[in-house]
Assembly symmetry: D2
Homo-oligomer: 202 residues x 4
């Protein structure tokens, strides 16, 4: 399989479904390929929207979103220095056009950004409630927030926030298992479940 991202990224990267191992990352931090695309589908991006990716991790969500927002703006917010290095490498490798990396801590660093149409929250650094409050003030009616929870606590807190703030909320649980070769056999290996919350501002 020939890959020549630096020379000709547009030709060889898939327009959706970049394999996890194509990203430079701390292995456990990445949103798995399958969960990533369900997350993108829930965002219901339109070509010219503004997306905030809060807790961008390795940048995989905003790198795939770049294909879906050809005339849009994407802000990758990440407070961890090591992760930001990964994001920089990945942005370069995949030759993204519309992604800006924001160094800072959410929600403080959000002030300078243009209002979002869509917000993805992949991590909150323990400040979920503050982040949601800030996002709520900046998001227009009809806007969408998508949040991936891997703990019961985040699931509960986010669901409570959205309920109180009058959002229309859907929760999707995603349980995926993938075969990996085990001698001559295909053994099923499970990912940990992810709860994808989608909140629409009414």
């Amino acid at each position: 399989l020939i890959k020549e991202y630096e020379d000709d990224a547009h030709q060889y990267v898939p327009t959706l479904g970049i394999p996890d191992d194509e990203f430079v990352t701390v292995k456990k931090l990445i949103t798995k390929e399958e969960v990533r695309v369900v997350t993108l589908a829930k965002l219901k991006l339109r070509h010219d929207m503004c997306l905030w990716d809060i807790g961008a991790g390795s940048g995989s969500i905003c790198i795939e979103a770049d294909h879906l927002l050809p005339n849009g703006k994407i802000f990758a917010i990440e407070r961890n220095e090591e992760c930001r290095q990964f994001i920089k490498e990945n942005l370069q490798k995949f030759n993204t056009r519309n992604v800006s990396l924001i160094e800072g801590v959410a929600p403080d660093c959000l002030e300078e950004l243009p209002d979002p149409d869509r917000v993805f929250i992949g991590g909150s650094g323990g400040r979920l409630w503050d982040i949601l409050d800030t996002v709520d003030h900046r998001l227009a009616t009809g806007g969408r927030i998508v949040l991936n929870a891997i703990t019961l606590d985040t699931l509960t807190a986010a669901n409570e926030y959205f309920g109180n703030a009058g959002y229309n909320v859907e929760v999707v649980t995603v349980n995926i298992a993938r075969t990996r070769p085990l001698s001559d056999y295909k053994m099923f290996e499970a990912y940990n479940p992810v709860y994808i919350l989608t909140a629409v501002k009414e």
Copy 2:
């Protein structure tokens, strides 16, 4: 990538993740939104590829693929007349650019089509083995076949075929549940599991 329908700027279609109920369809036939995007991710489409969608059903896969193949060709193959009517309505509603509807029974009707880079098999009408044989002869090295199985029998048969024919096979099981409102509560409702087989020709 700009899409408008019903002359209504507020009803732009998302570039990924069209909700299931936007498609005209027999309800049980549609590949659910979340499974649909995982399927598209597994196809790893590139902008100018040729995709065969065998057993296109309501056309949801090829309508979403149309956004991911701006310079490509998509053939929606469907033998059922009622389904073809749904596909026609959906193609028009979503204003697809690169999808051709093929009336006929696979594998017979595949002869006239250009060679595929990617093949999705959503239904086989009981002729899975013949279809796979034909696809195998037409698919180039490095090409990909993605098949969604909802029965143990199809999972087994396809896996056996791909193993014998020397493909590199991955199986992903997708278990999704979605909340729906039940009086004031959010009740989890499960979709039936889907087995997504991805076979790469080596």
Copy 3:
């Protein structure tokens, strides 16, 4: 542990795993066979314990528990008259020895019962908090409460209660699919997911 019914030696009941369709019930109300036995396992019953089954439904949990509590006491609490009729028929059919049916509304009707070692909550009729408060006052240290939640709201409320009250809580999500014949094929059909909360009083 010998059980006979309908005078037919070939129809001995199994000591664990009574099929769902052996119970008289409203079909949707029964805890599915697989979920039922995981629930029983979480209760960690010992031979002479006292079990409260609150919201007993069709009685399937306490009928299976009867085998596991040969020297114990089981109280099936159910406020719905139609369900109580089902329970009566099922208790008779399966010839239980240690189950008493309590007609009344929890938590009010719990006062008259002996203190429990184990409590299963299958339904709360909208009074979950009151029921948990009453159970908490009556349960000894080391006692266990098991609760099956099918809504996000019940999962959240119960988890919050147990956290505040100082219980050690584990949540298990159970996603089961079972094949059913579809012409010659075995099609996978999913049950809705169930969240089994186990709270141990410390």
Copy 4:
């Protein structure tokens, strides 16, 4: 939590649902608590039956079955010496009454055993087909075989065998996730999926 198995096993071991970490074992080899009880439910044991447990591993299945077969006979067959040591320790710890440990390789060592009413296959050492052939010759009409598959290959092979041999087959997929504490949070961790095949001889 006081445990005094040696002195008073009957009093302190639960009659169902022994926690995984109570067994001496290689950690990855044990059938998880929740899967174990679903497996036992599928066996539909009656009080005086004869059970073969082929590939007994740590003995957890036959130790729990011992409670459900008070007048029965259980044969734990295990070819691995290290595993047999674990089984011996576990049998002693849980003070089982009806379990006999068989040192040998299935199907060869099955010849000496009495005919089974129920057979559980947890491992086959690469000789699945031979084992199923032998079991099929010894099992009476109405008998049951339960097999836990964690690979697609075993699932496929067993399903094919049972289909050819005229058994009535049900497949249940079990996807479980359990919360574990992560600092102050409850994080969901998935077990790998297990396919429980139940074959009834007609």
